[in-house]
């Protein structure tokens, strides 16, 4: 399965950044790409529970493809969310279910940000994304 264009672009960009500060800068730049959520979208219904920072996630299916929107009040987490959306947006339900998202962040060199002791909430976001794609109300 080939990666979405944005995901390939992210992989190349992160591979070209060996130092922690370059990667942090890049991660924050990716965060700027997130489409801003409206005030109505930043409501408790879309708030992902279990995050130290506030995270909102919305998803909808269009002609069989998933499109998610997300935001957070923390900048580095916004970057992670943008990188997540780059990987999953446009996938079918089957492709989304099959996508190894832990591996995706590891490929970017950001795997540590999903470690269980991290309270940044990315794990909670992945769980919510799964629930949304399975049609469950989280």
């Amino acid at each position: 399965m080939s990666l979405p264009t944005a995901a390939s672009e992210a992989l190349q960009a992160f591979a070209a950044c060996p130092s922690w500060d370059q990667r942090a800068r890049l991660q924050m730049q990716w965060g700027e790409r997130l489409e801003p959520l409206s005030a109505e979208q930043c409501c408790s219904e879309h708030l992902v529970a279990g995050c130290a920072s506030q995270v909102w996630l919305l998803g909808q299916q269009h002609e069989g493809h998933w499109y998610f929107q997300a935001s957070s009040d923390a900048r580095l987490l916004r970057g992670l969310l943008a990188l997540l959306l780059a990987r999953v947006n446009g996938l079918s339900s089957e492709e989304l279910a099959a996508a190894d998202l832990l591996d995706w962040f590891s490929q970017l060199g950001l795997g540590r940000q999903l470690s269980p002791s991290r309270s940044n909430g990315l794990n909670a976001v992945l769980q919510r994304m799964r629930a949304v794609s399975l049609g469950e109300r989280a």
Binding site: D21, D73, R75, L76, S119, N120
Partner: protein, 401 residues
Amino acid sequence: MSLTSPWRADFPGILALAAEGQTYLDSAATAQKPQAMLNALLGYYASGAANVHRAQHVPGERATRAFEATREKAARWLNAADAQQIVFTRSATEALNLLAYGLEQRFIAGDEIVISALEHHANLLPWQQLAQRRQLKLVVLPLDAHGLIDLSQAAQLIGPRTRLLAVSQLSNVLGCWQPLEPLLALAQAQGALTVVDGSQGVVHGRTDVQALSCDFYICSSHKLYGPDGVGLLYGRPQALEQLAHWQFGGEMLLHTDYANARFRPAPLGFEAGTPPIASVIALGASLDYLGSLDAAAVSAHEAALHAELLSGLRQRQVLRLLGTPSVALASFVVEGVHHADLAHLLSEQGLAVRAGHHCAMPLLQGLGLSGAVRVSLGLYNDGADLQRFFNALDQALELLL
């Protein structure tokens, strides 16, 4: 001249972390352990484990003797009159839950429990839940601008319905000693029980529970350079007598048939089940180790480190300190910077500091903050640790501002 710690080499954990490129400044969460404690832990298991207070055999007798020796050491450490006033629990949190359940029957609807705005969840939730179970009123003492419990407001709020006061000795977020003496006097004047959460305080200066004259004092082993899995509950004899038994099983009883039982008094009556034997024995080794140090030198070192920490933080004008820390730790925020972002970039650079609400969510909410970054010190930290922290902080702020 850079501050050095003459005790650093006694702590293999801090050396191992340093070798890995990690600067550990989170001792208020849990402390690294001295080699003497590791030896005791291994020594107990390696020389033959046995349960305590049960068997007549030699290994059992040896384990019981070592286990009870720690009770003596803990009593001496806190200046309790008698070792039988020390109950071992599995954590400080468990000790506070023991009190909330053990005293439950003493409260009637409308009674008041008084805590302060800066309490750790461990000294909030057991009382909050007790208040809900028994229709009690939970009164929260406000803080002044320095982060101290406001005494004039406390004098108004502690009244004839106050049955219990439970406050921290040293805040795990604000790092300031609380005015316990006048607070306890206010509660005692109303005939209320007094509970002091010494989880942070016990680490940064010797506490004399008799001089403090509280009914109960609580602390945990793992912050005091001991193993985890052990909490200490000190009680005045008259206070311990008021506790109802709360966990049942094992050797905490005097006699039982199928229908009824009679229980032991404190301490053993409150130590149901097999206790954390190795950890209790190893805590004794940590106390021996700490007792062997020059207490004045340790205090002077911690004070110098703390002064250097505060001075460095104050030099960086974008930072805002929480309260007026006087010892052990400092928490801060940066306007326009999310604490999670700052924590992430510090951790990328090998700094182990804590960010978040520090198990004191209502305190942070009261300050209008979603979280803060906390730097906390142990006696093994040195000036070089702080220098690495400040370098990393400057780098992180350069990226974020």
